[in-house]
């Protein structure tokens, strides 16, 4: 009965069913127009990557006359490959450390009666209220003092620290629901805590771990403020800041910049398409259960 096909019947009459189908057409037209408004700029970005500068200015709406893959090669060699590798490394490391430390914390808080559990929970979750911008200036000094200014480690440490609260929040809510029986059986069989954590709890928490990891990858991949302020060395820049630096370097060779934008956009779109369900679960869990 949930199918919308049944519904017009309640209103009866031929006239209202005509009105309903007109309404349906209008709805679809609006939705398609909106979809085109989303896709068209992205398609434009992709196609402009193949044009020559003359084509871009002469016919900004048109298709490229030939597929100039050399623009993509040029963008790749102008730095995109370097930025891409930096982003992959920083994001991967930040995902590993964030997930590891957050699940360890969530595990001990949900499975054991540890001292100061209440205070520790408030401290960990309260971090969600604090924005990176607010800490920016003291961090500028702190990272220099610690000798991790202008290094990958600076970014990895910050991405981990600022995202532990949210990640603990996600994983903790999930671990609470895991039954104690399997765990107790493992302990009876002589497993220690470390083994219970790795062999029982982590495998059982897999769905939320995947969601949390995807969201952390997305965050680290796109993060801009820290990457802008705490990295000076061009060779260490991640994509969001590197692309900005490239804009200055390609000068007026805009198609190359379009090619660079396309290369940078692809990994996240692919990751999203592959893990759409996990992405959305993570986001909706993060918003609490409406």
């Amino acid at each position: 009965m949930a199918g919308s096909m049944e519904r017009p019947r309640y209103r009866g009459g031929a006239r209202s069913s005509v009105a309903a189908s007109i309404g349906r057409v209008v709805v679809y037209v609006v939705l398609i127009v909106f979809a085109v408004a989303i896709i068209y700029p992205l398609l434009w970005m992709f196609l402009n990557g193949f044009k020559s500068n003359a084509e871009l200015f002469g016919d900004p709406w048109g298709l490229p006359s030939t597929w100039r893959w050399e623009n993509f090669v040029k963008a790749w060699n102008l730095g995109v490959v370097r930025y891409l590798m930096n982003s992959v490394f920083v994001a991967a490391a930040a995902v590993v450390t964030t997930i590891l430390f957050s699940s360890m914390a969530a595990y001990s808080l949900t499975r054991y009666r540890i001292p100061f559990a209440g205070a520790i929970t408030v401290l960990l979750l309260g971090g969600m209220m604090l924005a990176p911008t607010v800490a920016l200036i003291p961090l500028f000094r702190l990272l220099q003092t610690l000798g991790i200014f202008d290094t990958y480690w600076g970014l990895i440490v910050l991405y981990t620290a600022f995202r532990i609260p949210f990640t603990v929040f996600l994983i903790r809510a999930y671990m609470v629901t895991i039954s104690r029986e399997i765990e107790d059986a493992a302990i009876v069989d002589g497993a220690n805590r470390w083994q219970v954590f790795w062999l029982v709890i982590m495998p059982l928490s897999r769905p939320i771990i995947v969601s949390a990891a995807l969201l952390q990858a997305l965050f680290s991949w796109n993060e801009f403020v820290f990457a802008l302020v705490f990295i000076n060395d061009t060779d260490l820049k991640t994509l969001p800041v590197g692309l900005l630096a490239m804009q200055g370097r390609v000068l007026s060779d805009w198609p190359v910049l379009f090619a660079a934008l396309t290369i940078a956009a692809v990994p996240m779109i692919v990751l999203f398409m592959a893990g759409q369900r996990q992405f959305i679960r993570g986001l909706s869990e993060g918003y609490g259960k409406g």
Partner: protein, 297 residues
């Protein structure tokens, strides 16, 4: 039972130690230190600090760019609540109620895609979209006969911030829509069946069933959108860097420029305190509404 022995209990603290340590050193300490730094005048290259009391805050109130930045953040918040929360809610309801099968998944995916892209990518893309020579925006206006509406969108003080805000709506509406879809999927179908049998129309069902039942999500999305609007940085830095004539700064970019270009670190710290207070108020309201359920953008 594990963790019941005295030693066992205390040793479990080691499991939370890395998380706690990272948070204390890299999140809590800097936020507190920032409060202190806002009371001093200092710059990046000479570490000596001069106590100035509340002078940085007085300077804030006299700084027209601070006020225009704050205004821009407020504009960002208002427009985003209308388009992302309002528009996202309507889109979600339309997709859930009126669209079936493959189309539903197609629209949902397409609308969400911009949200996974870096703001640098969309920012640079829209810089080209707004470009007076090759941009699609002016091209479109010309094509439909609205030549007089053409602007150098990012190059004029009057339009720059609005052009950035518009890009942001394009990017984020699908994200908020997906949150509403998830909330709506938790509503029992029987409620709608009953309403339709009683002769309710779709708009009526939307008002009397959907909206009340996703109210909590509406409130949360509103608060999070507002709090996000006061943290806007990336897209402004990429598209205009606050120009022309400092007209499109937000608190975030003005903080950045004050600290790292004008070398007024204490002053920038005072801006950070303002951002801190605004986002803190939003978080507290949110905690209140979410009854303890913490939430992040």
């Amino acid at each position: 039972m594990p963790g019941t022995s005295r030693f066992g209990r205390w040793s479990m603290l080691l499991w939370v130690a890395p998380a706690v340590l990272l948070l204390v050193v890299f999140v809590y300490y800097p936020v507190v230190e920032n409060l202190r730094l806002s009371l001093f005048r200092w710059n990046a290259f000479s570490p000596s600090e001069t106590w100035v009391g509340l002078d940085n805050y007085r300077d804030l109130t006299l700084d027209p760019v601070f006020w225009s930045s704050l205004f821009n953040n407020i504009a960002y918040a208002v427009v985003s609540v209308i388009f992302q929360v309002g528009g996202g809610l309507v889109l979600a309801a339309v997709l859930e109620e009126l669209v079936r099968g493959r189309w539903k998944g197609f629209f949902r995916t397409v609308y969400f895609v911009p949200a996974v892209l870096s703001l640098t990518i969309t920012g640079l893309l829209f810089q080209f979209m707004y470009n007076p020579q090759i941009g699609l925006v002016n091209g479109f206006l010309g094509a439909v006969g609205l030549d007089s509406w053409k602007h150098s969108w990012l190059g004029e003080s009057a339009t720059a911030i609005w052009a950035i805000i518009a890009m942001s709506q394009w990017q984020s509406i699908g994200y908020v829509m997906v949150l509403f879809i998830v909330a709506m999927q938790r509503i029992p179908r029987e409620l709608y069946e009953a309403a339709y049998i009683d002769g309710a129309s779709r708009p009526h069902a939307f008002r009397s069933i959907t909206v009340p039942l996703v109210r909590e999500m509406i409130l949360l999305a509103t608060i999070i959108t507002i709090s996000g609007a006061f943290l806007v940085f990336n897209e402004v830095q990429v598209m205009t860097a606050g120009g022309p004539n400092n007209s499109s700064h937000t608190l975030g970019t003005w903080l950045y420029k004050s600290a790292f270009f004008n070398d007024q670190m204490g002053y920038a710290a005072a801006i950070a305190v303002v951002i801190f207070i605004i986002t803190m108020v939003a978080s507290i309201v949110q905690l209140f509404l979410g009854r303890g359920k913490a939430v992040q953008y």
